[in-house]
Symmetry: none
Subunit: 214 residues, 2 copies
């Protein structure tokens, strides 16, 4: 019936409806088939053994564990498997962890179906894909984000340092202590940062910093 065997995909997501929905979407594709669905982290390894998948779609938010660690575990046992993280979390930190864990992709759940299919085929073809919508960094991120943003937004290194500390929740006094400056200097830097980013308060800065992975 199937002239070329389809790629086998295992879905791991404790949201059954999402799981079912993706299954339905994927099974519409002639070259892809869902070989199994898992709703709990504990069942993953046995399901892999049973269903022999080529690719695993893995949610981060699993009951009892987190998807990135689970992905790492899976690769430890089955190094040839491809693993794509599929998540609602648009967090550069998580994307970074995913990359560092050696997983093959990170896609947001608000991607379109078309994007999902593209990414799946990309990964099955041996490439990786890390959603650029998570942060403004290209898929070939070899240099630090800071450098890129420093240039783009004309933030100096000192300013970036202070952005980072503000993001961490330090106030002017704490920042001054931490990097051995006068509070007044910190305030000056802060003012300059606000001016350059065209914002007016710390909450804006935190949002900006997190959204841009600073």
């Amino acid at each position: 019936m199937q002239p070329v065997p389809a790629f086998r995909i295992l879905l791991i997501d404790d949201h059954r409806l999402f799981n079912d929905g993706v299954k339905s979407l994927l099974n519409d594709q002639p070259d892809l088939m869902v070989c199994g669905q898992v709703f709990q982290a504990s069942e993953v390894l046995s399901a892999i053994q049973r269903t022999n998948p080529d690719l695993i779609l893995l949610d981060i938010n699993l009951q009892g564990s987190n998807g990135i660690d689970l992905g790492k575990t899976i690769l430890g046992h089955y190094p040839d498997l491809r693993v794509l993280i599929l998540t609602m979390y648009s967090q550069p930190k998580l994307l970074d962890e995913t990359r560092k864990a050696g997983l093959h992709g990170y896609l947001l759940k608000d991607a379109t179906t078309h994007e999902l299919l593209q990414v799946i085929r990309e990964i099955l073809g041996g490439n990786t894909y890390f959603d650029t919508n998570v942060a403004d960094l290209s898929s070939t991120a070899d240099n630090t984000f800071s450098d890129r943003f420093a240039q783009r937004l004309n933030l100096t290194f000192r300013e970036l340092e202070i952005v980072s500390l503000i993001k961490e929740g330090l106030n002017n006094e704490q920042i001054a202590e931490r990097i051995h400056l006068s509070i007044e200097t910190v305030k000056t830097h802060r003012k300059n940062i606000y001016f350059k980013l065209d914002i007016s308060k710390a909450t804006d800065l935190v949002r900006f910093a997190i959204e841009h992975g600073l």
Copy 2:
């Protein structure tokens, strides 16, 4: 072609993949059809007018706004519409809010497809359905991401609303205007939020909100 016209269903969920998945599931049913998909709260009313649905499947966690309020608004404009909340949040309080808002159902996203179809038909038949699996999660604090729920569960609905507005960058005055409260009340809520989350300032809150997808 269709001897009996199918019920028309409008999907509102900013997770496109979930949206597409459910669409695919529903369109497999002869008596149901997805008449439209909406990814943003702002587009809902015009989409209803355009697509003339019988039932709306509504996520709670829409960017910026919240599904329950949106559902209430929808019923205000279209009282004959049926609205089913479809959410990942297993919170009795939210279920309760849904019921009080006069919406017709509350189903968890980890329901099975079969359950979803059953519930949809139940609601289209004039009944309501409120998921009995909605558990008090206060006891299950085990995995990495449970803090997202655990901590969030301590926040009341009003508090969550204010968290969201603070995250958006509004100050007390603006929040007070937006949701028609006294500034003093907003300050009180803010204090309570800080206490519950064990933080002390707005930047901490923004970080918390973003990291936890609020």
